[in-house]
Subunit: 343 residues, 3 copies
């Protein structure tokens, strides 16, 4: 635990990680890729394939193969299956986008948060911080909270008392972890608060977006499993158990005591009611709404308000488009029925 | 007004409220309940009935009466109407969940915010703070704002100039009270801001969730009535008047100049247009959307996009499921009409 | 760049801008309006026309012309086309609401943020701040970020490294500009983060509401054009390009790489998928959902889930109301078909 003045978001100190440059052969070697073309070109930047110029690396999405020939990039990461690179300097890899992400990290194009506790962070003396954590300006770590090694809290993150954050987590500005769950009981002419004495447990390698809120459990822990990625302005209510390696997009809300299985993929602005059970590997389309107590099965994505299996959703949408037509058909049948049939 | 260093969220001082233990007879006495079984057992914890063990109290939801016999809890709060407690140590009360909430408070299982102004809070010299308020780290209380007695602002709460917060309110981290309402007028080739010179008035016993925003009125006050509970990431726009004892769940938005009557219950992710009028005691289902200018009547919950009375909503949903069938029926009728009838 | 202690949101200093009073003839002169009635009345306040009293100015919305005679306002701003002011003191202007907004500003009814950097703001030494910026308490301006002249950051605003904010912008409390876009690639048994090395570029005269989040681009800049107004709790994802003079209401989310043309008007809680293309001057109704990759054309507002041109949306809504009726009609036709026709 050290006091640092060079936290990148807003340090007062001068040290910033500097961008690096890498040779194409070095990149190919690190990626375990198959290089074609010039080995010695230096790469120090990255850009979309349409915009990349000299000194810059890009990647080729399989759907856009035609862009390769027009690109002025110094080097392009391409699928191993690409038939012909047409003389361009390329590196063949299994997954060009994934490989590109790794190169972005190596080039250090953007300064990374440095380990240390910003002097303005307010960390309770009973809190526990792991090795190399980076706690940004105006972060708050409450009593008995614990943040494990190599995690980064950007600015203005509030970690309430007793919350646990695993290793290598990344919490963006304004995230609030461990505020009270929303629980009240009617007591005659008013509501009375049910104290929320549980906590929040966040696993390893979790990312939580800006201004998202994860409420503490009433009695036990609200859980977010390892490897799960949560976007901005997401709400996770008390007592939820989110599995490992889930993806939850922006502005989605998960109501109380809902369980989300591992590897679920949830779109943006989804509303999930309380006590819902979502199977592992389920896929939920953006803007879907899942009523209280439902069970979502994996196998087919669900979509719509209320959510239904995708094919059913699409069929209904199509039918809906035909309702006007149905109406005309019925008028016509009635008419015919009154007139003598023409056979 | 005192400067405190032991605010629980992130104090620098060592004092934390300690959990207590209570005897079963003492709990029964305080609740005005009817005890059966052992009077002298000490209770120092609480858990869901399935998980509670020795030393822990739980409550029995009426729907789960069978769980009582399997529970290992030291004491269970049960409905007065439970026929037979089967020899377990129980306390009979009118509302077990409500009673359980009170016991949670008495046990002090989680340290409560202590009155005082955290040294990092920025309170304008013209602001007024009542007795025993707890203002957490990095809270901001603007010019001429007023926060009444016994209210708690957790961390990073922003109270803009002129805003009034009543007694015993609880504002969670990141709540923003009194930012400008969203008002503009088109002025030729640009929008011009309509200054928002009104304010926000929050009654007593109001809870406002993490990262929720309540905008100030244009000329008058946006109002939130006493006893109202607002969840996380809720937006209340300028000039709204929210009644007393309302419940507004997470991520709901209320557009400008809307009036919500007392005791309304509003689900999560509801969208309420501007100039809507919601009767007292209305119930609005999660994910409903209420168009501009509508009047919502109490008596039957409303549901859906756009919102309709629940029975109508369910009937339409059922009909929708039959649209495909309708289509086939019409094809069949047409076919039959062309062929000679079989009678 | 100066250190200021009198930032209005929560200054420790005593200086606040004082309200002014203006004579009716002076107001008429400044507005270029046509005064009728008493020139010398002093105006020092403003209120809705129903509530305005002596010393207060109000404006008359064209739909509410009857309110003029009942108003006790010292002066009313009315449309130039109003036939008869009935002896009231009025000022005739082209757009009474716009004019009223200007008068509100002149009266200085609410203290405005004063230029200066609040001593608690954390501004990185490599950041660049223009003349007369007002940076409120606990704001954070990251490495190499740039905030141009006359912009105001209220409290707790986080501007990440490298972000650019134009002139005369207004960022409300808790806004987060430049957090990482939400980009991951599957790498076997986990997701791997795609570093987000782009930035955010915000034009001039942009307003961004409380707790809204604008993510940085993956490689290039997420852009918000000049004159655009963004409400509270809005999410703009990485790589979006929002045009000039757009209006985006509260809790709307715009997914990655979407383009919004100039002068688009977008309601509240709208969900816009990724790679959507929205024409200039499009109008999108509140609570609409626009699927990935769609092209929204201007000319007719779109509405609904999924969004459709307004007339089509309304027609379908009406048809939906008739589905029950269709069902009964078909039963009746079937019945008749089995019985001998009555002709």
């Amino acid at each position: 635990m050290s006091s640092a003045t060079d936290f990148v978001v807003a340090s007062r100190g001068p040290t910033l990680q500097q961008p690096r440059s890498l040779r194409v052969d070095e990149i190919g070697h690190r990626l375990g890729g198959q290089r074609e073309g010039q080995a010695g070109i230096e790469v120090s930047g990255a850009a979309p394939i349409e915009q990349a110029g000299p000194g810059e690396i890009a990647f080729l999405a399989p759907a856009n193969a035609a862009l390769l020939q027009k690109s002025r990039a110094a080097c392009v990461l391409v699928p191993r299956t690409l038939p012909d690179a047409g003389g361009r300097t390329v590196i063949r890899v299994d997954d060009p986008r994934l490989a590109f992400g790794r190169v972005l990290g190596w080039l250090a194009l953007r300064p990374a948060p440095q380990p240390g506790i910003h002097p303005t962070a307010v960390v309770h003396p009973t809190a526990s911080l792991g090795e190399r954590v980076a706690i940004g300006p105006y972060c708050i770590v409450g009593a008995r909270a614990r943040i494990d090694a190599d995690s980064v809290l950007y600015a203005h993150v509030t970690v309430y008392d007793g919350v646990r954050i695993g290793r290598r987590c990344l919490l963006h500005a304004g995230a609030v972890i461990g505020a009270d769950g929303f629980g009240f009981a009617r007591a005659g002419d008013r509501y009375e608060k049910i104290p929320q004495v549980g906590t929040v447990e966040v696993g390893d390698d979790v990312e939580i977006g800006a201004n998202s809120t994860i409420d503490r459990g009433t009695l036990t822990a609200t859980r977010v499993g390892s490897g799960t990625k949560i976007d901005n302005l997401v709400h996770v209510a008390h007592n939820c158990v989110i599995g490992d390696h889930c993806v939850i997009s922006a502005q989605t809300g998960v109501a109380g005591s809902t369980r989300v299985g591992d590897w679920a993929v949830i779109g943006g602005q989804v509303g999930i009611g309380d006590h819902v059970n979502i199977d592992a590997r389920s896929v939920i389309g953006s803007a879907a709404a899942i009523p209280t107590g439902k069970h979502i099965h994996a196998g087919e994505p669900v979509w719509g308000v209320p959510a239904r299996p995708l094919r059913q959703y699409l069929r209904r949408l199509a039918c809906l488009g035909r309702v006007e037509r149905l109406h005309r058909d019925i008028q016509e049948l009635r008419q015919r029925y009154r007139e003598p049939a023409a056979h």
